[in-house]
């Protein structure tokens, strides 16, 4: 219970810190819309030459773009800011203060900082997803919908664990500010179904930098493309990564000896 209260408090602090700059809202809204416009215009150009891309119809790609924007927003809203904060605080030693708190340090890391304006992207992505779903119409069964939600959650766990493992490296390497940008630059590729890519890139985007589980796989569930194997692999990977990242985090904590503070 106290955890939820903490989330509320931290969220409020972050929100109050940002809403003071009201013009930022409009600038961020503008940038989010421009980003979405870029994706949609690119889609429009490509679908002016073809009816389907690697077997994917326009509305299915639209759903994929929706998920891409939604998940990208969630990552930059909650996962990434917390990890950046962790890396910073390990470097300058303020991580000591997190350790002295009675709550679990991993939980505290996750909720201490939010990318408030990403709420705009989350809303836009969600809206686009709903539009795509309406246009796909009655083709979506109850089971597909359930699988879709399950795969979104699985993808979120995988991405979170992946980020945690990268950020935990800070305990040894200290200067790893840029390590998280590797995900950002690979995430671009998630705007298209990974089945288009040649095998080496597809495996890279699935198992090395797990972009596919956050974008393609959920939409595959939605459009009845998901086979049982992928489903099981996704579940298995989520469980394994969650456990491994937690264990790795604990080893990292032991290694932390405070720096300057």
């Amino acid at each position: 219970m106290s955890y939820f209260r903490l989330v509320r408090v931290f969220f409020r602090v972050n929100l109050v810190g940002e809403v003071a700059y009201r013009i930022n809202f409009f600038i961020n809204l503008f940038q989010s819309i421009l980003g979405l416009g870029t994706a949609l215009l690119g889609m429009a150009i490509i679908f002016s030459f073809t009816g389907s891309l690697g077997g994917w119809r326009p509305n299915e790609i639209l759903a994929l773009v929706g998920v891409y924007v939604l998940i990208g927003g969630i990552i930059r809203f909650t996962i990434q800011p917390g990890m950046e904060q962790l890396i910073e605080s390990v470097r300058d030693g303020t991580f000591d203060f997190t350790l002295t708190k009675p709550e679990d340090a991993q939980l505290m890391t996750g909720i201490s900082r939010f990318g408030i304006w990403e709420i705009i992207n989350i809303c836009l992505g969600f809206a686009l997803l709903v539009i795509a779903l309406v246009r796909l119409g009655g083709n979506i069964g109850g089971l597909a919908a359930l699988e879709f939600v399950a795969m979104l959650l699985t993808g979120a766990v995988i991405i979170y664990s992946f980020f945690l493992i990268l950020a935990t490296l800070a305990f040894w390497l200290v200067r790893v500010e840029n390590i998280l940008t590797i995900f950002q630059s690979m995430y671009e590729a998630g705007r298209w179904p990974v089945s288009l890519y040649p095998a080496w890139l597809r495996y890279g985007l699935t198992f090395v930098i797990p972009v596919a589980f956050a974008t393609t796989v959920p939409v595959e569930a939605l459009t009845n493309r998901l086979n049982g194997v992928t489903l099981l692999v996704a579940f298995g990977l989520a469980v394994i990564l969650a456990l491994v990242s937690r264990a790795f985090w604990k080893i990292g904590l032991k290694h932390y000896s405070g720096t300057s503070a």
Partner: protein
């Protein structure tokens, strides 16, 4: 003149040392530079294969060649001054540059030359690998290959000067990220990054050729690919020269106004 030469040499050394220090960042950054054209290469190849092997004058193999050359041209002409400038002005570091007796543009030019000297060979190797992986086909016409060199250099000059001008926006506002995003949006669609210009609607093609964007990336790419006649190439080089002249003028005017508006913040 001698001091300017020394400045370039010193900046070369500094850039080299910095890039060597941040090797990991360099690798991460290069992944991004390769991935974007690669994704469009794959998407367009898929469309082309689904369409019987070609769209317009582009076959699947020409698409591959187009995007691989584009990747190299983009890397050659790419700059990051917009991101640097915002930081320099916000944190007040520009004050140090203003104390020096030479125009600060020189250290940026030297910085760009050195970092490209390091990154281009690596990217060329990647490009060759990709060309084999995607069976790219390229029939180089000797005359166009010769004209490609001034085309590429002018494209770099033009893009560098334009982006340097754009970077000066930071003198008036600290919220340059929105302005940069508009620029990259226009660049994506009008320079040929998202698709060869000839596949876009007629109105977009005309706009792209009137505006400078096409001349910074698309033109040299199509030149090496042999999609332009020799006459067309010569006219194109003329257009590039005109645009470079306009850009030089813009840099001078905006810089003069900007320095007046500059109030060192931070330091």
């Amino acid at each position: 003149m001698k001091s300017l030469f020394q400045l370039y040499i010193q900046q070369f050394k500094t850039t080299f040392a910095t890039m060597f220090q941040y090797r990991a960042s360099l690798v991460i950054w290069m992944i991004g530079q390769v991935l974007e054209p690669l994704v469009y290469l794959i998407v367009w190849s898929t469309v082309s294969n689904g369409n019987g092997g070609s769209i317009g004058t582009y076959t699947t193999a020409t698409f591959a060649a187009y995007f691989i050359i584009l990747m190299l041209v983009n890397q050659f002409t790419y700059t990051w001054v917009m991101f640097d400038y915002e930081y320099r002005i916000r944190e007040g570091y520009l004050s140090f540059a203003l104390l020096k007796p030479v125009h600060p543009i020189h250290s940026d030019i030297a910085d760009n030359i050195m970092s490209k000297t390091i990154t281009l060979p690596i990217l060329t190797v990647i490009a060759i690998g990709l060309a084999f992986a995607f069976h790219a086909s390229l029939n180089v016409t000797p005359w166009l290959a010769v004209l490609f060199i001034p085309g590429l250099l002018l494209a770099f000059a033009l893009r560098f000067l334009l982006e340097w001008t754009l970077a000066q926006c930071a003198f008036w506002t600290t919220r340059v990220s929105a302005i940069n995003q508009i620029y990259f949006f226009l660049l994506l669609f009008l320079s040929g990054q998202i698709a060869p210009l000839s596949l876009l609607p007629r109105a977009v093609q005309i706009a792209a050729k009137i505006l400078p964007f096409y001349w910074t990336i698309g033109f040299p790419t199509e030149l090496l690919l042999g999609k332009i006649t020799v006459t067309g190439a010569l006219i194109g080089l003329g257009v590039q020269i005109v645009w470079v002249a306009i850009a030089v003028f813009l840099v001078r005017v905006v810089w003069r106004l900007g320095v007046k508006a500059y109030a060192a913040v931070g330091q």
